[in-house]
């Protein structure tokens, strides 16, 4: 996977770990080897929190890996280099500088004469479609125009490599599509000074539309799960059958990975610390009802489900995952299939649903049973949230543990397993419940 031939940037045996609250290390990236080749757009795809953005920052020497090395043109890269430019998800424009000044600020380090620097900045702005906005401040621009400034700033430095961290994900759907198309036009017409692009994304269609090669990361810690070359001719058309097939294929690789890692988690980690997805009870019961009804009859392919519900796959996924964890449905390949319990749930009234949900929650989410046990053991029947946070953070990142606790609180409240007061951040037993 890491052949050095034609590689502009090469990552070797990259590992990254962050210190947890307890002082222990939490591995985020584990033994990542990859190279960015001359002339390609390489996509990094993975679920949120999988460490993609961390990997991109390591590739640009913005942060140092715990171990492993980065080579840029076969030499170790220890600090950000002139030939590497970054486009940020949040645009990262300085609000006190105008569009032109922001782009010029990116050229500062090149030490060009003032005239040339201005000329370059103006050229980049013209190329990216910012002419006329030179003297505007970022706050006067829409999100799309702001990201154009982000692109112009990067391109003005005439980099070999462009590192793009989810560059379109903070934009609305239409704006993102316009920017993508504009970028691809420039890329395909070889109008950009850039030789290679590394792009982080969680949007599968975007990845297939733009990239020549995809690296799929698993999570907790991230490893390279798969590498998928995309040889589709450019310009690509989303409506092509082949395009759809590739999206399906990528999708199934990603899903299979997730299901495998869900299973693996129970074995490799303490079951308590299994991360829970942000799925509300309402959405989960809604999904069960949709699945049980026609035309699905208890089973559906996720991508079809998503498009018929007008949901992003990324929004649907946590809900499906929640059902899978609670064993109301089974997530396999790219399909979601109701279990017997899921069917019973669909045909029950409110009280019966609560009872069923409580049973499943206690049985399949050890954390909820654990919280109940702790509360029972305490005299006043109360326990601070911090107690569980500390326990969780031995196994999970802060973000995951936060998300997991939020999910278990919402689920536990619905099931009337325990009460939670957010003001005092304490769990307590419900007054008249066992």
């Amino acid at each position: 996977m890491s052949d050095a031939k034609g590689a502009i940037i090469e990552l070797r045996k990259i590992c990254m770990a962050f210190a947890k609250r307890s002082g222990e290390l939490l591995a985020v990236l584990d033994d990542i080897n990859l190279s960015i080749h001359d002339g390609e757009i390489l996509g990094l795809l993975g679920r949120s929190g999988s460490g993609k953005s961390t990997l991109l920052r390591i590739a640009g020497a913005l942060i140092k890996p715990t171990s492993g090395e980065v080579l840029y043109r076969s030499k170790p890269l220890l600090e950000p280099a002139a030939g590497i430019a970054v486009v940020f998800q949040t645009f990262a424009l300085f609000p006190w500088l105008t569009v032109l000044e922001n782009v010029e600020a990116g050229l500062d380090a090149l030490g060009l004469p003032r005239d040339e620097s201005r000329q370059r900045a103006q050229d980049a702005n013209d190329l990216i479609g910012l002419d006329g906005f030179q003297s505007a401040y970022p706050r006067e621009l829409s999100g799309g125009m702001r990201q154009r400034v982000g692109f112009a700033r990067a391109i003005a430095t005439r980099p070999d490599v462009l590192l793009m961290d989810e560059p379109f994900s903070a934009l609305d759907v239409l704006t993102a599509e316009t920017l993508r198309t504009d970028f691809l036009d420039l890329w395909e017409e070889h109008q950009l000074p850039t030789k290679s692009v590394l792009m982080v994304t969680h949007n599968i269609e975007e990845a297939v539309l733009m990239c020549d090669r995809l690296i799929i990361l698993s999570s907790n810690p991230a490893r390279i799960a798969a590498e998928i070359p995309i040889t589709l001719a450019r310009p690509r058309n989303r409506l092509d059958e082949e395009f759809g097939n590739i999206v399906d294929n990528v999708y199934s690789v990603l899903t299979a990975r997730t299901v495998a890692s869900l299973g693996a988690f129970a074995q490799t980690h303490e079951a308590l610390a299994r991360p829970l997805p942000p799925a509300s009870v309402n959405r989960m019961s809604g999904l069960i009802e949709i699945l049980v009804a026609a035309p699905y009859g208890g089973q559906a392919e996720l991508d079809r489900l998503a498009s018929s519900l007008a949901l992003e796959i990324n929004d649907l996924f946590p809900i499906a995952e929640g059902l899978h964890i609670l064993e109301f449905a089974e997530l396999k390949d790219r399909a979601l299939k109701l279990t017997a319990a899921g069917r019973v749930f669909a045909n029950s009234d409110t009280d019966e649903r609560k009872r069923l949900f409580r049973e499943h929650l206690l049985r399949f989410v050890p954390l909820s049973a654990h919280i109940c046990r702790v509360l029972r053991e305490r005299k006043q029947g109360r326990a601070p949230r911090l107690r569980f946070e500390i326990e969780m953070e031995d196994h999970l990142s802060r973000r995951d543990s936060e998300r997991t606790l939020r999910a278990v609180i919402a689920w536990g409240r619905y099931a009337e397993l325990f009460a939670y007061d957010d003001k005092s951040r304490t769990f307590s037993v419900i007054a008249n419940a066992g």
């Binding site: 920052r57 640009g60 913005l62 600090e79 950000p80 002139a82 590497i84 430019a85 970054v86 940020f88 949040t90 645009f91 990262a92 424009l93 300085f94 609000p95 006190w96 500088l97 000044e101 600020a105 990116g106 050229l107 500062d108 380090a109 970022p138 706050r139 700033r153 430095t157």
Partner: protein, 274 residues
């Protein structure tokens, strides 16, 4: 908090007035009534003051107070500039290192609360020992207690500086003077202004105790409006105390209105993204 309130302070209706009242009367009418009340009170007090003190004061007194005010104004300005040159770089260096900031921030806040006048005798001793000019060397005492507001506001600003801005600066290798000018200084500017407002206001107050300092039999007079007020207070000269305090109030309010408030508004406008 208090400093931000000071920066934006206006003569506005206190919120104590029950909301019910605003339902009965239109807010504009309430405003007019309130301003009228304030104006009446001010006019009455001014008249009383002129009646009792005006007879005793001459134009010489006024020009003396104005000259002393000028000296103290100059002193405040120079000291704020010096404190800025020292504490802004230090505060930035600390604020960008979260671990250090965590430890230094409470220390800076303690220093701000520490009664600086406990150190005045040391200054008197040094000035006498080395035969220094009190007019110059008493000045630093004014800012001893309040310079820390600049430090901890700058620390707070640098700590709050967005990570993506830092990453962008790093990625595009913006360094040296350009980094100060284009990246960090504009970023912490609103915080700095907040600190400087407090520091300068505090310095004005401190001038009353720091422009005339005594330790045992030694008494040093540094000249200035603070010294003027302190001396008149000692002498129990009410008309001149009133004159001194009025002059100081006018100068402080003028400084807030003409310098700090516009600066704050400018800072806030520039760092806003929406």
């Amino acid at each position: 908090m208090a400093t931000q309130a000071a920066a934006r302070a206006r003569l506005s209706l206190p919120s104590l007035i029950p909301a019910r009242l605003t339902r009965v009367l239109p807010p504009a009418l309430l405003d007019v009534g309130w301003y009228g009340l304030v104006l009446l009170a001010v006019a009455y007090l001014a008249w009383k003051l002129l009646q009792s003190a005006g007879a005793e004061l001459s134009w010489t007194d006024a020009s003396e107070a104005a000259r002393d005010g000028g000296i103290t104004l100059l002193r405040v300005a120079v000291l704020i500039v010096l404190a800025t040159l020292i504490w802004v770089p230090v505060g930035v260096a600390i604020g960008l290192r979260p671990r250090v900031a965590e430890k230094v921030q409470p220390v800076a806040q303690f220093l701000a609360a520490f009664p600086a006048n406990l150190l005045f005798p040391v200054a008197v001793y040094l000035i006498v020992r080395f035969q220094l000019s009190p007019v110059i060397w008493l000045s630093p005492l004014m800012i001893l207690g309040t310079q820390w507001y600049i430090l901890f506001n700058v620390i707070a600003g640098a700590s709050a500086f967005p990570t993506d801005f830092r990453e962008a600066a790093k990625a595009f290798r913006i360094g040296g003077w350009r980094w100060w000018r284009n990246v960090i200084l504009p970023g912490i500017f609103p915080y700095y202004v907040t600190g400087a407002i407090t520091a300068s206001g505090g310095a004005w107050n401190a001038s009353i105790v720091s422009e005339v300092v005594s330790w045992g039999p030694t008494r040093l007079n540094g000249l200035g409006l603070g010294a003027y007020i302190a001396q008149m207070t000692e002498a129990g000269d009410y008309p001149r105390i009133a004159l001194g305090i009025a002059t100081m109030s006018v100068l402080v309010v003028a400084m807030n209105r003409l310098l700090w408030r516009p600066l704050y508004a400018y800072a806030e406008r520039r760092t806003r993204l929406d």
